[in-house]
Subunit: 284 residues, 2 copies
């Protein structure tokens, strides 16, 4: 069983309470084994990502877009640091979406998202995403109900376009329990080097946990397409979350048959040209 | 002696032939020691960069812009992978500048550069930069002579503005010898997994080595300001280049007195609020 298969959300109605937040599907070990396994994925991830990047200018170049969504403290930042940090930053484009600015709100909700779509050859990562526009926007009624309703289809159309361009979309819902969130918020308060991560507003949003859960269930159900499926990642264990997303990335790369691009020049002719080249030798 | 002091270009006329390409200033050891030393910088670099990032929304937030320039094969990509890769990707924004597009050429040369300036709190990295507009642009006469002439001052004004905003600018010239470049180009030809990095056009540019050297000397001299000085990094040894830039980053962070931001909320009140919070407990 692959992580892609194991964590993939089946189509149909979604009941998040049926999904464990602290399970560790597909992995037998504990924390130290999990961290070691993730580190062990590094070289293979780096090799395949470099192949993806190497192909960025060829005709059939492809890209990857990793979408990270989850409640506050679910660990989007941790995945960036520990998992995305394993690959070569030259080929990574991270976009952290905050509350939209006034200018952004004056445009369609996808306007700012489209500007952040990774070029082919890149691994784009969305730390929050267009899904905020059907999550907090729904819970907090930040847009009229019919506009929210319209967005699910607009998202599916948008994602279909990306897929048609050659981008593989991995949508990961980092699934934590409210009790785990409370622990993490308290831990931030206890550590002055983590106060910057603490936002009292997060506790206000937390009061709406059930509303957010329902908004996630609706969004997951309505945007869980074959071309851009959702993965539900049990995230109460940080190490498992980081490992699972590393595995999802790796399995995705492996499924893409990433070969090194063929030389579009005459290797032997270039070798002869360089061998005869004496640039700078008079200085030696 | 710090790396910042040791590698800093003194003001005045520049003669690059007086700068060794294979020295290892400030470091006594060899390759394995250098790689180990660089890895050892990782935790401290990460800690300080996280502080920089944590401050991104406070009033006196600052940023860092690392500008990487050098002849083809000098190792800009290697620095991204081995040195920039040590910090948290969430706070890094890399921009790789290619030959300007038609749209970019229709604007002032700084138009595309300004769009890539890192927000405060971030480490921006320019893989090539606005200096191309006084390097290849000068060597290949891609703009009229008086326009090239104008650009040195425009660059200094632009960089002064960034510094006034709170951005520390580190401009690193990766200095290699033509013999080392030849070795690296041949190595790319010998390895099919590196053919994608080989561009026959690089050999054409290489024929203009002396012209490029002179263009670098002029650019370095005229833009080596107190607010945005140049560092000349001997880069024939890849490990030394990666280490030196890691040290330059670290010493820069250390000079910035990066404290953790103070909580702008009442920590005790938040703790009490969370302690009393029972969200989700009915599900338990």
């Amino acid at each position: 069983m692959t992580f892609l298969d194991e964590l993939r959300l089946p189509s149909g109605p979604v009941d998040l309470s049926a999904w464990s937040t602290n399970a560790k599907p597909n992995f037998k070990g504990g924390k130290s084994g999990g961290e070691k396994t993730l580190a062990g994925l590094g070289p293979r991830l780096l090799d395949l990502q470099t192949r993806l990047y190497a192909q960025r200018d060829v005709a059939d170049a492809r890209g990857v877009l990793l979408v990270l969504q989850g409640m506050d403290t679910s660990g989007k930042g941790g995945v960036l640091k520990h998992t995305v940090g394993l690959v070569d930053p030259v080929g990574v484009r991270i976009t952290s979406f905050k509350a939209p600015t006034k200018q952004e709100r004056a445009h369609d909700f996808l306007w700012r998202i489209e500007k952040a779509v990774p070029a082919l050859g890149y691994v784009g990562v969305f730390d929050r995403s267009h899904y905020e526009d059907v999550l907090i926007a729904r819970v907090r009624s930040l847009a009229p109900a019919d506009e929210i309703e319209r967005r699910y289809g607009a998202i599916n159309d948008f994602e279909q376009q990306l897929v048609d361009k050659g981008i593989v979309i991995l949508k990961c819902m980092l699934h934590i329990s409210p009790a785990e969130q409370k622990e993490r918020l308290l831990a931030r308060l206890d550590d002055p080097t983590k106060h910057w991560k603490y936002n009292p507003g997060d506790v206000d949003e937390r009061q709406l946990w059930d509303d957010y859960t329902r908004a996630y269930e609706i969004a997951l159900e309505r945007t869980n397409t074959d071309v851009a499926p959702w993965y539900v990642v049990p995230s109460d264990r940080k190490w498992y979350r980081n490992l699972a997303i590393g595995q999802i990335l790796l399995e995705t790369f492996e499924s893409m048959d990433l070969d090194w691009p063929k030389a579009d020049f005459d290797v032997e002719a270039e070798r002869r040209r360089l061998a005869a080249d004496t640039v700078g030798e008079s200085h030696a």
